[in-house]
Symmetry: C2
Amino acid sequence: MRQGKGSDMVDVIMVGTVALDTVKTPFGEAVETLGGSAVYASVAASLFARVGLVGVVGRDFPEKHLAFLRSKDVDLAGLEVVDGDTFRWKGYYEYDMNQAHTLDTRLNVLAQFNPRLPQEYKNCKYVFLANTDPEIQLNVYKQMHKPKLVMLDTMNYWIENKKDALARMIEKADVLLTNDAEARQFFGTPNLVKSGRAFLNMGPKAVIIKKGEHGALLFTDGQCFSAPAYPLEDLVDPTGAGDSFAGGFIGWLAKTDDLSPRNMRKAIIFGSAIASYNAEAFSLNKLQSITRDDVFNRYMMFQDIASF
Amino acid sequence: MRQGKGSDMVDVIMVGTVALDTVKTPFGEAVETLGGSAVYASVAASLFARVGLVGVVGRDFPEKHLAFLRSKDVDLAGLEVVDGDTFRWKGYYEYDMNQAHTLDTRLNVLAQFNPRLPQEYKNCKYVFLANTDPEIQLNVYKQMHKPKLVMLDTMNYWIENKKDALARMIEKADVLLTNDAEARQFFGTPNLVKSGRAFLNMGPKAVIIKKGEHGALLFTDGQCFSAPAYPLEDLVDPTGAGDSFAGGFIGWLAKTDDLSPRNMRKAIIFGSAIASYNAEAFSLNKLQSITRDDVFNRYMMFQDIASF
């Protein structure tokens, strides 16, 4: 059963997880709240563009979350509801908030999920393949008809266990998203500049290395851009930071349909602005209430932080 | 015995160590080369301003190093040559280059050193108190007559062992320089923004948190500036990075005599530019040959790296 009316009018599709998260941080706890890579990315991108979400949930998935996504004009034609329970993640962050510690992962309906894109999504120009098995990412990629921009995320697990498939997927991606640890791990070098350039040589036109509290680096042909992080004094929950960043980034590109390095720099700041809001509250509690004006305001604060 | 003719014409004085370093990195080794905080800071600042160096060496200190410092117009009226051997540091960097590992420290003549400023330095407006015992820093501070800007560096050892004296010195400093680990340690918080603001509340008008490969943060009243790091692919030897940064920073301020937050931002980029050159070769091998034009060129590359 599909949970949307379908549309050939989406600007960008997000393929990833829809989850019920239980998260504990030094500032509190959230139990069975809305989460998942496709959700964070979709809601972030919805500030700029018309989004289609591709994922799976079980019969237990609360209707209120579907209603919330629809209220953000997120198209749900690609969200399957199947027998079984929704994917659940339970974890905590210690005081330094830099790393999520997993207590329990229940794949549930995600275990058998192999996304099939709705027909009307196959011509979409922008697609985000959130972190999952690279063979599944390749399978989704094959269903697309000449997308203009494919953005890829991954994680250390796939570098360790499916590096060949991941390499094949990286060759096809236009924008590769990694964090600093993954970038060092992939090429066995501590130098992020070397890693960034080596990834570019594999095929992508742009490589983004996320550095958490230290911002992000963007490598494009012959250029390097260093984006600052927002100086957040009250970080409450970092869950979804990477995916809301990704959503803001690709949402801005889809809205402007401009893939110049200059516009990618702007997209990174928009992604960072949205991710910084996201970290100010649990789950999507902050993201659900911010407006495009809020994002533009924070964009201007980034300009102030970075100017000299 | 003083090693200089003395001058009331220096713009900035650097109080710190003069060393003979033996350093090993994955890219080679340098044995008994010129080093020390006052040396790196002085040579870096000499690109912009007239520098006086305050420190001590033993009778074994090679004349060629004195000649080199004089060739950079570094005034040596404050450099004492005393009986005994020069301070020596021996260490290595592992592949990630983030942390120096000490193999051997021989304080030698440094053990008894308590700097006495030449009379003609006491009215100097700009002074850098490089890392040492905060009680010695306080002693030097008391010898100055109303300096316009006192910049202070320290290290984890003094936070652990002389925190009260260090706090008294921080209260008197205009610019505090720390690295990220020290900033977190001092206030027992992982959040650098919180630490930066808490340091400001102790007295300094500006706090700089150095983050190595991730750049630096500058906190001034109500403002935060995030400076990028230069994307260095071939880092050869990070020794002296912090002190050449400090020298470039205070050298620019002394040259321009402008302490506005805007000009401090520029000074941070000039310091970062010089520090990035310094890391491209062992000892001062690169610093000795760069010109002010080189520094301006790299400043412009920082503008490109940071702009959006």
